[in-house]
Symmetry: C2
Subunit: 177 residues, 2 copies
Amino acid sequence: MAHRLLAERVRAGDTVIDATAGNGHDTLFLAELVGDTGRVHAYDVQSSAIRATEVRLESVGYKDRVELHHASHTDIAEREEPIQAAIFNLGYLPGSDKQIITQADSTLEAVQSALSRLMSGGIVLLVVYVGHAGGEKEAEALERYARTLSTHEYLVLKYEYINPDNRPPYILAIEKK
Amino acid sequence: MAHRLLAERVRAGDTVIDATAGNGHDTLFLAELVGDTGRVHAYDVQSSAIRATEVRLESVGYKDRVELHHASHTDIAEREEPIQAAIFNLGYLPGSDKQIITQADSTLEAVQSALSRLMSGGIVLLVVYVGHAGGEKEAEALERYARTLSTHEYLVLKYEYINPDNRPPYILAIEKK
């Protein structure tokens, strides 16, 4: 679903952000969308994530399309060029230490930075997990913030599976008008 | 959004249902999707809705693609052929008597009938309004029911704008696996 929303809005030549590179799945998908002339900036605080993403990109020859930042996604504020999209895949890195999770405060700061750089017609996607310790707190903070965004400037759409056995992530999609 | 979801799944030649013809907007959209070889069954209890829908269809030459049923959507149970999609646009008929609203019990019965005829890969869309008297009750009943649907057989996705000034409708999309 998140990829479908990105594919609808990201075109060749666009600049986009993967705020949580993780194992590189979203980075790779974005690199496909922006093509040879576009640019993906991918962030992760964990060196294992940056390495995994690099390997994945090299395997398909997309390394040149991506700038890897071994840094917190709060560093999104340090650049200024407008972006067409950003994705935040929250929670912990699959297959790694579940103690290292994204945190409400820094996530919120990074989301605000991404929105400040978002172009009209662009989208910021938050893939929100509530199944791990700390997940509920982060989810609440993000949803509270998203509800305050002006309807004149943004549409915020929540996509949620409501009949699952366990608790899957849901998506908050913030679209700039 | 509802139309986008329908367009993704409905193809020429399909049989589909507009459970609440209303002013005919959804009926017309479905008639476009199913084409000359498909069939739309449109239901409404209000004769003004059936007339408005008929006029709209005739104006674009789609009358032959649609069977209008001046009847409650609970009559969906009286037919048996499989359907690819059904849409329920709940609440009251725009521009008419706001006392005549869809009711939780009959809506739930009609939704169950539609699901029993739904083909694999098909979708039932509920456009749920909560801004009018009785809306909350119907919404709660539908969402409670949707949450009970087996994840082996259905995916239920809720699409909801969360930053509006007023309370727009939200969508429950029930997709048959």
